[in-house]
């Protein structure tokens, strides 16, 4: 198992994909936290109010724009964010707003895991690996450890990059107690690991990068949870089941530890997904030929 870890560490360091994804995280963190700093700035809010009142567009718009300028929704959203900042924005809430609520971290991580694991099969290098390491459980153990460590690296980077950007942009934050921040970070790592393991399972079943990426994104972006919620509308008594998904846990974590789902609930749900994905992976890896 240690040899597989050493081999993969070499590949991570000497390959490009990890550095590209870490670079994307830094850019997104800077863009997200920077945008938050701008749109919660009182001057910006004032200019938005004036534009809304005059019905004229203000500043530069990138993307799809309405000729009538900012509408009531835009103004409400900006005011809500400004209210959040005024009440005291915690680092968890800021990071959650930028990376967790929309499935940014989980999607990025799932795509990375899919690429990293599937390349081994698509290139044919897996034959070299499985010849020298025929113990599929040792292989799985090494890969589980890697996914957990990489989830920690991705999470640590979004925390550091987002907070650094906030500090540079002058976004006022109310620091949470360190134990709370660490507990929240650990839960985010756990949820990201869950998404990573589910994506790994998809790769080991299909041996295809495209399939791994698509399945990973569908899960990580919360589309499955959304579909589940729609189905559960037909069964109101079972609506609580929607809280037992990784996406629900990640959404709750986007609001910090004060989200709707408690810490034990999140920890248990994430752990359950990891265990189930690992058990299914063990079966798949042992049964499928290389």
């Amino acid at each position: 198992m240690a040899n597989i870890l050493r081999m993969d560490l070499y590949r991570l360091v000497h390959g490009k994909s990890l550095w590209i994804f870490l670079g994307i995280i830094v850019v997104l963190a800077a863009a997200g936290a920077g945008t938050m700093a701008v749109i919660t700035d009182p001057t910006f809010l004032e200019s938005m109010k004036v534009s809304y009142t005059n019905g004229a567009p203000a500043g530069v718009n990138i993307g799809f724009t309405s000729p009538s300028g900012p509408d009531a929704d835009d103004l409400l959203q900006a005011n809500a964010l400004a209210g959040l900042v005024a009440q005291g924005l915690t680092p968890e809430a800021l990071i959650g707003n930028v990376f967790l609520g929309g499935g940014g971290l989980s999607s990025l991580f799932a795509v990375f895991v899919a690429i990293f694991l599937a390349t081994e099969f698509e290139s044919g290098f897996s034959k070299n690996v499985f010849t020298v390491q025929p113990n599929r459980l040792a292989f799985l153990g090494a890969r589980f450890l890697e996914i957990a460590i990489l989830a920690a690296v991705f999470t640590a980077l979004i925390v550091v990059a987002t907070l650094a950007t906030a500090a540079v942009a002058g976004l006022p934050l109310i620091m949470s107690p360190l134990p709370d921040l660490l507990l929240w970070t650990a839960l985010v790592v756990l949820a990201a690991t869950g998404f990573g393991m589910l994506t790994a399972l998809a790769v080991w079943v299909t041996r295809k990068m495209a399939a791994g990426i698509v399945i990973g994104i569908v899960l990580a972006a919360g589309l499955v949870t959304l579909a589940l919620q729609s189905v559960l509308l037909l069964f109101p008594s079972a609506s609580f089941l929607a809280d037992f998904t990784l996406s629900s846990c990640m959404s709750s974590l986007s609001l910090g530890l004060a989200g709707p789902l408690g810490v034990p609930h999140i920890a248990l749900v994430c752990a359950a997904f990891i265990i189930v994905a690992a058990a299914a992976s063990a079966v798949v890896l042992q049964r499928k030929d290389v």
Partner: protein, 303 residues
């Protein structure tokens, strides 16, 4: 000692039987030419011997143990179907990764040694995707050789190579066998190259081993022969066996008789005429390796 021993090896995919009660015996020090048509089951057999695929039935032993155990103890090196390279990484990186997976004590030295051995010492820092087919095959061979295995399983290592590239790979295989004592199982459609290195052959057809024979036996059977067609093949065969006992006779399914060992056509014709056996055809035939194997791969062999 049998390095590889397969007995009744069977592999099915869904309802299709790819390998059907397959037997194989490879001795220590052999270069075993594994011959068969596309889809005959060569690659599936190789994958089972490498521990990459589990047999549906039967047994395979490599160095007296299961293929997976032999692989874990670094005794098997494989190059199956494709070299299996990360194209965006360099030759050194590809080798380093496998060296680390093997847990070699000095992976850098092992990598440099093998790059030199396969003639890629100047291309170590180049990305594998920029390599020619021949360079990729040589790098694949280097990957298979990491850990100094005692058995190499090479599936179509000459595929896509020009004659010069095929010759280089063949020479590398022979060097490995002669200098390092590595036993090699090599499948290839390039029978001319195979004929220059194999010490033993196995012919697979529709998942079954048709025949295993030594290079000497192949040489003998590839030699020139007389072929005759007689009105009564059974009687003709009996007459010839009695008259030319020192020669090798082979009865073919269509009734024709082949006589190996330098028989004189005139003497054979006279012998049959004396017994009143009408001969409808009698001619000398020169057979090459390709014809010999194609015949076995494509039709039931009756030696």
């Amino acid at each position: 000692m049998n390095v590889v021993e397969a007995c009744g090896l069977t592999k099915t995919f869904g309802g299709k039987t790819a390998v059907d009660h397959f037997d194989m015996h490879v001795d220590q020090g052999d270069i075993y030419g594994f011959v068969g048509r596309n889809g005959a089951g060569k690659t599936t057999v190789m994958r089972m011997l490498a521990g990459l695929a589990a047999p549906t039935g039967g047994e395979a032993h490599v160095f007296g143990t299961s293929p997976r155990e032999a692989g874990a103890s670094r005794r098997i090196g494989v190059l199956i179907e494709q070299p299996g390279l990360y194209g965006s990484m360099t030759a050194v990186d590809n080798l380093m990764m496998k060296a680390l997976a093997l847990g070699l004590v000095d992976p850098k030295a092992a990598v440099q040694d093998l790059l030199a051995f396969v003639g890629l010492e100047g291309a170590g820092s180049k990305k594998a995707k920029t390599f020619s087919m021949g360079m990729k095959q040589r790098l694949g061979l280097a990957l298979a050789l990491l850990g100094e295995p005692d058995l190499l399983l090479l599936d179509e290592p000459l595929n896509g190579l020009d004659p010069e590239g095929a010759r280089e790979i063949r020479q590398l295989i022979v060097r490995l066998n002669e200098e390092r004592g590595v036993t090699v199982v090599v499948s290839s459609h390039v029978l001319e190259q195979l004929g220059k290195m194999a010490t033993r052959y196995g012919v697979i057809r529709e998942g079954r081993m048709v025949r295993e024979l030594t290079a000497a036996e192949v040489d003998q059977e590839c030699s020139d022969f007389l072929q005759l067609e007689a009105a009564n093949p059974t009687l003709a065969l009996a007459v010839l066996q009695e008259r030319f006992g020192a020669l090798n006779l082979q009865a073919l399914p269509d009734g024709a008789i082949r006589i190996y060992g330098g028989a004189d056509a005139g003497e054979v014709g006279s012998a049959l005429n004396e017994q009143g056996i009408a001969v409808s055809a009698l001619f000398t035939h020169r057979r090459d390796l390709e014809e010999f194997f194609v015949e076995m791969m494509g039709a039931e062999y009756r030696g």
